[in-house]
Structures are given as structure tokens and as C-alpha cells.
């Protein structure tokens, strides 16, 4: 079984049933819930598809520690025990020391903290793991170098190699969970999928202690009106999820609120193991209502109780805690 065969499989229904069964066998009838916590939307990069891109005139905000804690309390109250901390790329205003300070505080509130921030060096990852981080999300966005170079107009993110090796630096530092993905829509997904599978296979062999995860984010354009060059249909998205599930039965898959409620409810059982709920993509979006610019528009705007209810209705148990603070 290889990715190309799966992606060209004529009978999606047949492999869909297998994918669902594999997911239940390995992960059970459970969906783990998490929420994103945006700390900053300051950014030096010009990524043409992103709401935070340096060329856009939006309200730029970086939360201070107390503001971040206020946001965190809202999420904790909603039931979350796992969070994903996000920033743009602005080392001056969002240095590693700032992240370290905030993570130490957040660790008193949550059992699991993952990061989705600019790529760091191995030593820096070690510092943040020590502070309490156990997961990292780092999307290559596209494995096609030409496209990568084109959509990342300027800024430190232009360095393809540095970004590509990020997962390895984090794994070498001892990161427990690392999430990979491509931003679907930038380049032909039929080329991206084998590249992603190769990358993952390489990492699985070399860093066998690390738990790898995948996401399948589709570009969700902000109002700036980025024209998606290679749109991915709902059916194609599902086909991708199913194909990767059959290739990597033990790898967790994440589905965020980028996708609309109806679609999420319909497709999660074919391979998804983690979902976000009630998300805001601007710093201060939960408690402070700062009016800061968003990274992308949320498509599934349901509150946490509605997402929980939908998961239960499908015969799955939503779980908020699947980690323990004494595990590093």
C-alpha cells in the first residue's frame, strides 16, 4: 500500500470503512479536545495567505503574562486541559524568554501545552520543554520549493531548509509530540501528499520515541482575499485523511475549526483523533476582546457544549484530559 495508490483508489467508500475501523481499533471511540491560545499576531513574515502577514494593516497585539493567564482561565473554565499556544514570527517582541515565562504560568492551569510558534533552535526547544511544553506543531505549508518561495514573500520564513528541519530539532530536544502538515490549497495536493508521507516516514524511523501527528488544514482565507491556487474539495480532503489513516494507523490526526461544523461532524470518524472547539484566532479573543486581527476566519463557530454534544451524538466520547503534568 502506498500513498499514490490510495489517493487514486476508485472506491472511496471501501477504504473509508477500513479507515474508520482502523481509527477505532487504535484510538478507540474517543476524540480529544483542545483549544488554541493566540499570544501575539505580530509578524515579520509576508506569507500571502495569512491574516497575520506583515503587509496587512491589522491591530497588532502581544499579550502580557497576566493577559495570557486571563485568556487561559476562560479556556480552563470551558473544560480544556490541553492547549495549543500560537504566535506569529517576531523575535523582538515575542522572544523565547517571553514564551518560557508564559508557559511556566500556563503549566499551572493545563496538563498539556503545545506550541505553534516560529521555528526555534534545539537548545531553545529544550528550554521550553523544561518550562512545560510537550507538543509542537510545525507545518511546512508546502513541500514544493518554488511555491514556498513564491508565497513567502519576505521574512525569516523564506528559509525553506530551516523550517524543514524544525521537527528534527524539536525531536532531538526531546519534544513528546510533533504535528506536521501542509497548508492545502497552495500547491497540488497530489504532489504534497507523497512528500508529507516521506517526511513523516523519515521522522518515524529516526525519532522513534516521538509521537507524530498530522493535520490537514485547508487555506481559510481572511478578508484580504487571497486567491487559492489549488482548491481542495471536501471529498478530496476526506480522501487525503482516509489515505493517510490507512498508511499511518498509529498517527493521531487533528481537525481544527477551520472546517465548518457540518463537514467536521461528517468526516471526523474517518481518522480524526483530536479536534479544537470554540476557537478564537486573535490574541485576546476569549476574555479580553482586544479587537486584534485574526489569523483566519473560524468556520465552525460552535461553542464547546455544541461540539461536545455533536461528538457524543456520533457515538464517541469527547475527552479533555489525556496527559499528566508529571510526564515531561
Amino acid at each position: 500500500m502506498n500513498i499514490t495508490d490510495l489517493l487514486t483508489a476508485p472506491d472511496l467508500d471501501l477504504i473509508a470503512a477500513q479507515a474508520r475501523q482502523e481509527t477505532i481499533k487504535y484510538f478507540g471511540r474517543v476524540i480529544q479536545l483542545y483549544a488554541p491560545l493566540y499570544l501575539s499576531n505580530e509578524c515579520e513574515n509576508c506569507c500571502t495567505y495569512c491574516g497575520f502577514n506583515a503587509g496587512r494593516r491589522i491591530k497588532r497585539i502581544t499579550l502580557n503574562v497576566e493577559q495570557a493567564v486571563a485568556e487561559a482561565r476562560v479556556l480552563r473554565k470551558a473544560g480544556f486541559r490541553h492547549i495549543l499556544v500560537l504566535t506569529g514570527e517576531a523575535r523582538q517582541s515575542v522572544p523565547v524568554s517571553y514564551l518560557e515565562q508564559i508557559i511556566k504560568r500556563l503549566k499551572t492551569i493545563f496538563v498539556s501545552i503545545s506550541l505553534e510558534v516560529y521555528p526555534l533552535a534545539t537548545e531553545e526547544y529544550r528550554t521550553l520543554i523544561q518550562a512545560g511544553v510537550d507538543g509542537l506543531t510545525i507545518y511546512q505549508e508546502t513541500y514544493d520549493r518554488q511555491t514556498y518561495n513564491r508565497v513567502h514573500r519576505f521574512g525569516p520564513k523564506k528559509n525553506y531548509e530551516w523550517r524543514l528541519k524544525t521537527a528534527e530539532r524539536a525531536a532531538a530536544a526531546g519534544m513528546r509530540r510533533i504535528g506536521l502538515g501542509v497548508l492545502l490549497g497552495l500547491h497540488d495536493w497530489r504532489d504534497e501528499a507523497p512528500a508529507l508521507a516521506d517526511h513523516l516516514n523519515y521522522l518515524l524511523k529516526k525519532y522513534w520515541r516521538t509521537q507524530f501527528q498530522l493535520s490537514f488544514p485547508r487555506i481559510n482565507p481572511v478578508e484580504a482575499g487571497f486567491k487559492v491556487p489549488y482548491p481542495v474539495s471536501d471529498r478530496e480532503l476526506l480522501h487525503l485523511i482516509i489515505s493517510f489513516r490507512l498508511l499511518f494507523p498509529q498517527v493521531g490526526f487533528v481537525l481544527s475549526t477551520r472546517e465548518p461544523a457540518r463537514l467536521r461532524d461528517k468526516i471526523f470518524s474517518f481518522g480524526i483523533t483530536q479536534m479544537s472547539a470554540g476557537s478564537k484566532t486573535s490574541p485576546g479573543g476569549y476574555a479580553l476582546k482586544t479587537g486584534g486581527g485574526e489569523q483566519f476566519n473560524i468556520a465552525d463557530g460552535r461553542g464547546v457544549p455544541a461540539v461536545v454534544a455533536a461528538i457524543k451524538k456520533a457515538g464517541y466520547e469527547p475527552i479533555f484530559k489525556d496527559w499528566e503534568s508529571v510526564l515531561k
Binding site: 478507540g28 513528546r176 522513534w208 520515541r209 516521538t210 509521537q211 498509529q250 466520547e317 484530559k321 489525556d322
Partner: protein, 254 residues
């Protein structure tokens, strides 16, 4: 005839089927499956339960008068993490029994033998009743018994794989040499696999995925219960040995 009970660390249990609590679609289904299995020992993942929350979904649905709660250290990648989880569990008033799992490889969840041995040694010193999850390694099983583990839990095949007992020959050696109960854990996908373990002389089995992920977990739990009883009774009744030649059912008496 003396009643046939499973005995671990001086305590007797009426069932030889241990159940896991992960992967169920709801606490309600979990509860019903435990009841249908008539199990006596139930393992819970310390990373899944919220010890600080008195209304925790899993803990709140387990009647500790009915079941011995066997906390497990799933998620620990080395001895140190397993120790921390075990101590955390005891500090919150859970039983001092611990299912020791040290699995550095998150894909196949295969146990690390050296870390498991060193954690077991320390936990025994700290007066825990230790049941280690191990690969089917007879020497490791002996070493663990020597340091004071209350049972050993060799795997039939990787967790959740439903492949059955792929490690049969080594489990047979473990059973033959055992001075503590042998509980076959992991990989049992069908009641027949469980029956096979008991027929071989294993003292008990632990099942989770095959029940929780079944279409009807409650009925599957009952099926496992019956298989475990059948396997045990067959073992006690003296199974005939395999032979190459035919043995006539009605021998000729000439």
C-alpha cells in the same frame, strides 16, 4: 473441590478477566461492559483520569467495592516518569497496586525492559504491588519476580493489534517457570485468543480494545467472560496432547 480463584499478592479474585477502561464510546457503555464481563480488576490510565476532579468520568463510574482499581502508568517513557505517576496515584488515595507500563515507542507501545525492571525494583521498595507489562521475555519475567513483582504481564502481540498470541512459545516458558501469576496482556482480539491463553495455563488475561472497540462492547465483554471460563476449565481438566497419528474414538478391542 477447592474453589478456583485468581490470587495475586495474597488477595483473591473471582474473575480471571481483567479489563481496561480506555477507548469506550461513553462511561455508560464502559460500566455496562465491566458488569457483563463480571471482572474483578479494572485498570485505569493515570493520564486519562483527573485525580483532582471528584466527578471524573472514569473514576466516578467505577465502584471500588466491586472492582480493584489497578492504576497504570501508560504514557511513561522511562522509569522516572512511571515512578512519578505511581506516586501521584497513591498520593490521591488510589490503591497501591500499579500496572507498570514503560513504553518509549508511541507507535507499537512496546515496553522497555531495562526501564521497566529498574522502575519495578524501586516501586517494590516503596511498597507498591507491582504488575509489570513486558514483552514475552522469560528471563525478564524471572528477574521481575525476583525483585518482588506480584505478577508479570507478558504481551501476546502489540496493544490494540488484535493479532492474538504471537509470542506463544515464550509465554509457555514464562508460565512453566513462573512463581507469580502470569497475566497475558495486549493483543487479544477475540474470545478464542483469551481462551487460548487460559488453556496454556496463564492465570488471567487483560482485555481492552477487543471489547471497547467492538460493535457491541457489552455482549463482547460477556463473550470474553465465557471464553476465559472455558479456557480455565479446559486447562484444569487436562487437555490431551497433540499427536501425529490418529487416535480412534472407538478403539478396537481385539
Amino acid at each position: 473441590m477447592k474453589e478456583d480463584k485468581l490470587k495475586i499478592a495474597g488477595r483473591e479474585f473471582t474473575s480471571r478477566l481483567l479489563l481496561g477502561t480506555g477507548k469506550f464510546a461513553s462511561p455508560k457503555i464502559m460500566k455496562a461492559a465491566l458488569a457483563a464481563a463480571e471482572t474483578a480488576i479494572v485498570t485505569v490510565s493515570l493520564r486519562r483520569v483527573d485525580l483532582k476532579n471528584p466527578r471524573d468520568h472514569i473514576l466516578n463510574n467505577l465502584d471500588q467495592k466491586k472492582y480493584l482499581l489497578l492504576p497504570n502508568t501508560s504514557g511513561a517513557k522511562n522509569a522516572e516518569e512511571a515512578l512519578r505517576l505511581a506516586r501521584l496515584s497513591r498520593s490521591f488515595g488510589l490503591p497501591n497496586w500499579i500496572k507498570l507500563e514503560v513504553t518509549p515507542d508511541p507507535r507499537y507501545l512496546l515496553p522497555d525492559p531495562t526501564e521497566t525492571l529498574s522502575a519495578a525494583e524501586q516501586l517494590v521498595k516503596e511498597k507498591f504491588i507491582v504488575l509489570p507489562y513486558i514483552n514475552a521475555d522469560p528471563v525478564l519475567a524471572k528477574r521481575l519476580a525476583e525483585v518482588g513483582c506480584a505478577a508479570v504481564m507478558p504481551l501476546g502481540s502489540p496493544i490494540g493489534s488484535a493479532q492474538g498470541i504471537k509470542t506463544r512459545y515464550h509465554i509457555e516458558i514464562i508460565i512453566e517457570q513462573a512463581t507469580v501469576p502470569v497475566i497475558v496482556d495486549a493483543g487479544l482480539g477475540a474470545p478464542s485468543h483469551a481462551a487460548e491463553a487460559l488453556e496454556m495455563g496463564a492465570d488471567a488475561v487483560l482485555v481492552n480494545t477487543a471489547i471497547a472497540a467492538a460493535l457491541n462492547p457489552v455482549k463482547m465483554a460477556e463473550a470474553f467472560k465465557l471464553a476465559v471460563m472455558a479456557g480455565r476449565q479446559a486447562y484444569l481438566s487436562g487437555l490431551i496432547t497433540e499427536t501425529k497419528i490418529a487416535q480412534a474414538s472407538s478403539p478396537l478391542h481385539l
